[in-house]
Symmetry: D3
Subunit: 134 residues, 6 copies
């Protein structure tokens, strides 16, 4: 009796999509207005999905307090109100939401042990979202 | 040519997460404020996903009138404006949304014969959702 | 240069709409399924609107930290994961969302001094909302 | 390191669900109010999901400019502000959203070559959605 | 102690914006793609706001059962799954959402007597809405 | 017969809330994490409300093509994918959303002549919004 639990968190951050090896024209051709100087930003919504059997006593897949504790410490405190382009995590790499999604998946995958990690999904805007399942 | 159809229903209910075998302190440790005396409640959103071939004549996976008829009778009339903790269905079991999800899946699985059941997903709040695929 | 600021908070609670002076039939006639025994619940969304001039230095109507501090202490801690029908605040009164709206307005009106209170709006479900402007 | 990217587009259209081979009563029995004469309409929301490895240089699954260019030309210009029942695409076929979903999947599948097509999902109303994965 | 109550209803309809007195080019210049032949459609969301004192006994502005009864009979049954351009109500008039809003306001204003009518707001799409206050 | 029309636009931008005259500690005390170095960002949603009589011929308050043309040129092209803190518009001023709201109101007020400007509302996040009515 395996159930999936999805929990949603929010943070706001900025980034600039820019390849230091490319010319301004090349960057503009690849990233369009996402390459604008000084960056821009988004309200990111992170949905983490974990799964597991429903505990016979508690009736839960995992305790939301554990998931919230981990997520607030490892995700929200780390990414909220930051400039992703300035984070060591993305040094030498363009902080696209594809990569952010993989990085956040890896953080849960290494550190969260209370249920099986299934998926991380990030909404960058109301029109765009990204998913990574490992 | 198998298509998935997802239909969303809404009901409001209350529950209290509480294990009668545990002390007040233990219950508080497990369920936090969800263990508050007298219960609390939610607007639950149920999404049922069914699948099947697209009928060559009607162009439909299944008739929404059939799905609505079943869902209103078996789900909405049964759960809407109730206290889940008082339902015979959850006697001796804590009515977590994990369990509610499994129970509602089982109701569709046993009774709804117009298309193949794929999944039941319940949103408990804007931050939490649960899925069961059998 | 007066600007309005609206901030949204969420809590989950249960209630039962029931007049002790009326018969079961009368209660059923007035409140329908909201009169169901044992109560039911909702995810309430509270939007508080305050106004004021934009501070020439900070550029703010009021500091969100002040509004959040007040709201968490006076609204969320008080109402979240409770049964409204059991609160002393509603003793002898049916805890409709109309009344909840007026009570929450009064709490801000008496206690929040960092900006002018304009309005409290409560969404009870995706279909219902209530507003009180004093 | 395969990531899924989902992009959402919107269009408004009308249709009438009606089988020319059936009597009025039969049509009414099958399609209910969706068979009303003169048709009715919806705001359709199309979500297309594509997948692929994250490009080592750009950090992207595919360039959104390519996906937007294709989608605007092949989907939005074609379906927005139309009457689906009058389109040659649905000649002799009832334009249910199941069929619309399959047709839009096929358009991406034949023409969009910048990433692997995973899924097309269409929301017809806030209560109904359809998915096709090929 | 006057409280505002807002209730949301949904219907789907089609229309075509077209002036019979104007040439095709003029119609195209005024209405753009909303003038496309055969029409198009929307999911309309109607929000009606009424106000009144909170009844000392029931705690309500007005009974939702009365508001729902009226709205289902006079609004939903009348407009849901119709082609607005074919309704006698709009004979000789282009059925813009501005006019639909005024017509729906007038229906409540003439017929709904259980609370004071404040406003009718219609969302035509996620980007457009219209309000009329009499 | 005056109707209000509200139209919603979206842009993404970054900003940092920081007073150059204040110490780091003072800035931190006033703006909290919004003062984080390198800035952060949001998906801003702008709702502009205009009003006017319904034109007897066209049935419209104003032509959406005019409103979209103005808004895309004067608002979206100007603010989308920018860092508000680097704009000349906010030189020497902290680009709070209160101020952004007033500036955008002023742009419509000076330049948009097709209907009466009523209000500009900006959603900064799902929890915060600001309104200015001049």
């Amino acid at each position: 009796m395996k159930v999936h639990l999805t929990r949603r968190y929010h943070f706001a951050a900025s980034h600039r999509l820019h390849l230091t090896d490319c010319s301004d024209d090349e960057n503009r051709a690849i990233y369009g207005k996402c390459n604008n100087p000084h960056g821009h930003g988004h309200n990111y919504s992170v949905e983490v999905t974990v799964s597991g059997p429903v505990d016979a006593a508690t009736g839960m897949v995992c305790n939301l307090a554990d998931l919230d504790g981990f997520s607030n410490k490892e995700i929200i405190e780390r990414f909220d109100h930051t400039n992703l382009s300035m984070m060591p995590l993305f040094e030498g790499k363009v902080p696209t939401t594809e990569r952010l999604c993989v990085e956040i998946y890896d953080i849960y995958n290494k550190g969260f042990k209370h249920a099986h990690l299934e998926k991380v999904r990030i909404e960058e805007t109301a029109k765009n979202s990204f998913e990574y399942t490992g």
